[in-house]
């Protein structure tokens, strides 16, 4: 520890390039993901799922399965001792279906056996007699939540009007490590569940409620998480493994297959949107009218919050006098949808950015100039009436983005085959290839909104180990790959000037940290670690070889309120984050093939806590935005998923991913610890519309739907309606 005389700062503070503490085990193979866990006497759990999108369950016969040698437990809804439904906020989803199944893949029966093969054999012998029911999809869903926004004068007209209809397909998080966990029965009659999740305490509540255990008996421990992106915010196998472990008296492990993973978590909501923009002839936005319909699938999940975001961010980061927004999410028999990176802002950004380009074309104004002329800035009001108090560098981000150099036009040169659309498939020598450039900008909220008491807890202990001080940071915040464990240690070093910091494995033995979502953990749990460190620092004089110093602190963000149910007005969000993207793409206009050449981005991150991780979030988020633009969609037919594999659901490979040109702006956020801001989601919002704008620029086709498919680029009969 630095002495007071010749004081040198410890290395590894915030802002420095610090490598992740779990990095070495991750590159040597020693890191234990949830799917790598095992225990003596461990059994395996398997789920029997509905093959129908909607059916009545007439009978369930498990006798043949239960009779199989090696089977330890076969459980139905009748064996759920506690609450028979679960859900993050609305407990509407059956732990195991009883009267009806409402989506393909819904769990009906769970099986535990001595090994995985036996468990799968037993699952195949479960007989469920279904009577199929009509499948409800898009057109006749039941309204789960409707969010209207009535901002400004509702009787407005404008000199120039453009309108369009837009669609976004259902995207999958496609984390590489499928759902998995290990439930271990404990001596106190409770359970220790080691699981890959985003939010330990919300899982704990749901596992306890359905198993009938107390919260104290329901101890959750974070196991290694192979990516999340929103897809692990809802419960998957948590309750099932716990029920099987309690019934069999053995540790029970469950690991989903890739196919099962497509059924086992919520997806990004598909959207249908109709927009109308009105402006003055000199390019001032007068009004925006939008109808946004999200398909929530069979159960609520976080749909009510997603649709609120879709409404709140429906016009994009622009100043507009009048807005009339109706955003609705419905229940259907499609797979349940919920959280995915960008959370409602992604869908509407595809529409509002397409509209801004259409408006620019109608006005004969440069699309970036039009955006800058209407850019939201600090002191403006959002369409919810909320004053923008924090930084809102919309114009600055666009200016910086436009000033970045464009890549050389390789399509004009005799070039490597691999640089052309279609690549090594050798389908073109450059004839029919045209280059396009597109711009987009988006924004969203950081942290939970609409009155949610969003907080995080941290416990910090300093003790002397062989005469040297060591810090232990204990939280329930989930490291899912983003590098939270690195930044929490950096914060502790910064506050305590002690180099030796250990971030303990997250569990429910400390207070809630809330969810690893909404780009909130560095702000929220980082804030709690800072507060706990400050409290510890005030007592460091008490530290002795016999006595450690420990403090626990909670960090709450400022209160928010729900949107008014009639006007959609209210101070519903804590903070905003912004990112702008420019895509350059080559399109083979004869074959519809695309090569995205470069994506440039300007993003305001408040303050860089860890440069390598900050850039990693931006690069990775853009890859997912690119995926939604040109390849990723869960394809549905009458509620059934037709492409539940990585053979048929394509995510970007290293050959699809272009060079990313980064420009990171640091405008300190006044509400956040150290002036930081959320980083993870903004890259996924405007990257999709920027890519599609580039494809429109190259092809001259309106392109009203993502993902854009080759056939969309070779036909001129695209479905955008013109005004």
């Amino acid at each position: 520890m630095a002495s007071s005389g010749t004081r040198t700062l410890v290395r590894g503070r915030i802002g420095e390039l610090v490598l992740r503490p779990d990095g070495v085990p991750k590159v040597t193979g020693a890191f234990q993901f949830a799917s790598d866990l095992s225990r003596e006497g461990m059994a395996w759990g398997v789920t029997v799922r509905s093959p129908h999108a909607h059916a009545r369950i007439a009978a369930i016969d498990v006798s043949e399965a239960a009779a199989l040698h090696g089977v330890l437990a076969v459980l139905t809804h009748a064996d759920v001792p506690g609450r028979k439904t679960y859900g993050m906020e609305h407990h509407d989803q059956p732990v195991l279906a009883w009267d009806e199944v409402r989506y393909e893949g819904e769990p009906v029966v769970i099986v535990a056996a001595v090994d995985l093969e036996t468990a799968r054999l037993a699952a195949a012998r479960v007989r469920v007699h279904y009577e199929e029911l009509p499948v409800v999809t898009w057109d006749d869903g039941i309204v789960l939540r409707h969010v209207p926004i009535r901002h400004g004068d509702q009787e407005v007209s404008a000199e120039v009007v453009v309108s369009g209809t837009y669609e976004v397909g259902m995207q999958d998080q496609a984390f590489l490590g499928p759902e998995s966990g290990l439930a271990i029965p404990a001596e106190d009659g409770g359970i220790d569940l080691h699981v890959a999740t985003q939010w330990l305490h919300v899982d704990q509540e749901q596992v306890a409620a359905s198993t009938g255990l107390t919260l104290e008996q329901t101890r959750l421990h974070l196991a290694g998480v192979g990516g999340a992106f929103g897809g692990r915010e809802d419960v998957s196998m948590q309750i099932h493994a716990s029920l099987l472990a309690l019934r069999s008296g053995r540790p029970v492990k469950m690991v989903y297959t890739r196919e099962e993973s497509f059924y086992g978590h919520v997806h990004r909501h598909p959207a249908r949107m109709r927009y109308e923009h009105g402006a003055t002839r000199d390019g001032r936005l007068v009004y925006v009218k939008a109808d946004v319909l999200l398909d929530g699938g069979a159960y609520a999940s976080s749909s009510p919050a997603v649709v609120s975001n879709a409404a709140t961010f429906a016009v994009g980061p622009y100043r507009v006098e009048s807005a009339t927004i109706d955003a609705t999410v419905t229940l259907t028999n499609n797979p349940p949808c919920g959280a995915m990176r960008g959370f409602g802002a992604v869908q509407v950004a595809f529409a509002h950015e397409a509209q801004m380009d259409r408006l620019a074309a109608a006005l004969g104004i440069d699309p970036v100039d039009l955006r800058i002329a209407n850019a939201l800035t600090t002191g403006d009001r959002m369409i919810t009436g909320q004053l923008v108090e924090g930084p809102a560098p919309v114009a600055e981000l666009l200016e910086r983005l436009r000033a970045m150099p464009l890549p050389p036009d390789t399509a004009m040169l005799p070039s490597d085959q691999r640089d052309l659309p279609g690549g090594l498939a050798n389908v073109t020598h450059g004839e029919g290839v045209r280059r396009g450039v597109g711009y987009a900008i988006g924004f969203k909220n950081i942290g939970f909104s609409e009155g949610f008491d969003d907080y995080a807890t941290a416990r910090v202990r300093v003790s002397l180990v062989d005469g040297a001080p060591r810090v232990e940071v204990h939280t329930a915040a989930c490291e899912v790959g983003q590098g939270l464990v690195t930044v929490l240690a950096q914060i502790a070093r910064t506050e305590l000037e002690i180099a030796d910091v250990v971030v303990l494995q997250a569990d429910t033995l400390v207070g809630s940290a809330g969810s690893t979502s909404a780009s909130r953990q560095t702000w929220m749990t980082g804030g709690a670690v800072r507060l706990a460190c400050e409290a510890v620092r005030a007592r460091l004089h008490e530290l002795s070889p016999e006595r450690h110093v420990e403090e626990t602190a909670e960090h709450h963000h400022r209160p928010t309120v729900p949107l008014d149910p009639v006007t959609g007005q209210g101070d519903s969000v804590v903070a905003l984050a912004f990112a702008a993207h420019r895509a350059v793409a080559d399109v083979d206009c004869e074959l519809g093939l695309v090569r995205v050449v470069e994506i440039a981005t300007s993003q305001d991150v408040g303050r860089i806590i860890n440069p390598i991780q900050c850039e990693g979030q931006i690069q990775g988020g853009i890859a997912q935005g690119l995926g939604l633009a040109v390849m990723e969609e869960i394809q549905l037919g009458a509620g059934r998923i037709r492409n539940a594999s990585f053979t048929d659901y394509l995510i970007p490979t290293v050959l699809d991913m272009p060079t990313v040109r980064l420009d990171i702006l640091e405008t300190p956020h006044p509400l956040a610890p150290y002036g930081l801001n959320g980083v993870g989601e903004p890259p996924t919002i405007a990257s999709t519309p920027a890519v599609v704008a580039a494809l429109r620029d190259a092809s001259g086709i309106a392109l009203a739907r993502v993902p854009v498919r080759p056939e969309d680029l070779t036909t001129s009969s695209s479905s955008v309606s013109s005004s």
């Binding site: 490598l19 992740r20 779990d22 990095g23 070495v24 991750k26 590159v27 040597t28 193979g29 020693a30 890191f31 234990q32 993901f33 799917s35 790598d36 998080q173 496609a174 984390f175 590489l176 490590g177 499928p178 290694g224 998480v225 192979g226 990516g227 999340a228 992106f229 690991v255 297959t257 890739r258 490597d416 691999r418 090594l424 899912v480 790959g481 983003q482 590098g483 390598i612 991780q613 850039e615 990693g616 690069q619 990775g620 988020g621 853009i622 890859a623 997912q624 594999s645 990585f646 053979t647 995510i651 490979t653 290293v654 050959l655 991913m657 060079t659 990313v660």
Partner: protein, 159 residues
Amino acid sequence: MKYSTTLNVNGIDYPVEIEAERSLLSVVRTEIGLTGPKEGCDDSECGACMMLLDGKAVNSCSYLALQAQGHKITTIEGLSEGDDLHPLQANFLEQGGVQCGFCTPGMLISASALLQANPSPTEDEVRIALSGNLCRCTGYDGIVKAVLITAGELAAQGA
């Protein structure tokens, strides 16, 4: 029916008794106990299960364990020597090539197979070599940089 065979993994002979249909991935993870290689898709699409078979990268989820008899198998656990990280491993960390880490074992195996076959690859060659390994977190930039930097370092050492 089970067959007795011996698998040489990371230089060590492991006698195993396995059914004919068992994949190399399944046997290495559950019988031999090396859980570094991952199952991400069980379909040869994601590459998280990759191992070296006589220096060549294979998707071990789709390779029968019995076929691996007599070959030298290398998993991620065999990439480093002792406590020293392989230069690829160190560069993956320093370039931000690792986030969740689930793809990392297969990605490193792919990269090491490339550098053994082609010690000074171009960026295009790196991308082609890694195109059978999916990563959902990083956007691949740090991974590609790490491989190129490693190639440069190894060339400098050899020079």
